[in-house]
Amino acid sequence: MSDLLAARSQMAVSLAFHIVFAVIGIAMPLMMVLAERRWQ
């Protein structure tokens, strides 16, 4: 495996893992706030 392929693979794995949680971190608070708004 070349250095470039190794670096690309590591970046790909890190991004693929992170984006799931990043996306949840964007939208979950909205749902959380909508629920609290309905309670108040």
């Binding site: 670096a7 590591q10 970046m11 890190s14 991004l15 893992f17 992170h18 949680f21 990043a22 996306v23 949840i24 971190g25 964007i26 939208a27 979950m28 608070p29 909205l30 749902m31 959380m32 706030v33 909508l34 629920a35 609290e36 708004r37 309905r38 309670w39 108040q40």
Partner: protein, 219 residues
């Protein structure tokens, strides 16, 4: 405005999930920020002065999100319900903002702007113009709306499954309602935004490679 205790339960349950997933996202995001410098030092040396600003703004947005999430999680009985709700709003807004800033940096890679290339050196660097690149609006809109749709449907799916097992459960019915509101609103717009983005013109490096490989070698 219902005062229904179910919604309070729901907000607390979702807050717990948000806290755990936020922590995983924060740690894996830190790994990425190190990798940008460690795996791509030459690229970051060149691009840093041009596109570093949205990354630092993302840092501010992320810390804002973390601070207000702390207030939200630990402030249930400590601050007024009004202040608590606004802390939640701040979490939602800064979370969205941090996503927008990172996607702006990605958009710049698809549509570089804000500098001139002279003998392989970037000169006349203008970070604001770099952020206002041609792909920024369509990509950030697309990504943000897609995030709401993806998370909304994932959460709706979980509560729908639990509702199937227990059809009379009011908690999961309310949860499903809110999740579907978040999931259903954006996709229509997300799809049309995605179509605004002509991929060939917005990815000059890829396009150049494609063109080069299709030209027969003359010698």
């Amino acid at each position: 405005m219902t005062g229904h205790a179910i919604y309070l339960d729901l907000a607390k349950r979702w807050a717990k999930g948000t806290a755990i997933l936020f922590a995983v996202g924060a740690v894996s995001g830190t790994v990425l920020s190190f990798e940008l410098g460690l795996l791509w030092p030459r690229f970051m040396e060149f691009a840093g002065p041009i596109i570093g600003m949205p990354f630092s703004l993302e840092g501010f947005a992320f810390f804002t999100e973390a601070i207000f999430l702390g207030m939200y999680l630990y402030g249930w009985d400590r601050i007024s319900s009004r202040a608590h709700l606004w802390a939640g709003v701040a979490v939602a807004l800064s979370g969205t903002a941090s996503g927008v800033f990172v996607v702006i940096a990605n958009a710049w890679m698809n549509a570089p702007a804000g500098f001139e290339l002279v003998n392989g050196q970037a000169v006349h660097v203008d970070p604001i113009a770099a952020m206002a690149n041609a792909a920024a609006v369509s990509q950030t809109l697309h990504m943000t709306l897609a995030a709401y749709a993806a998370t909304g449907f994932a959460v709706a799916g979980i509560h729908a499954l639990l509702l199937l097992k227990d059809p009379a459960n009011a908690f999961h019915r309310r949860a499903l309602e809110i999740a579907l509101i978040v999931a259903r609103r954006p996709p229509c717009c997300s799809r049309s935004r995605g179509h605004l983005l002509p991929p060939r013109r917005r990815a000059p490096a890829r396009e150049a490679r494609r063109r080069r490989s299709s030209v027969p070698h003359s010698g």
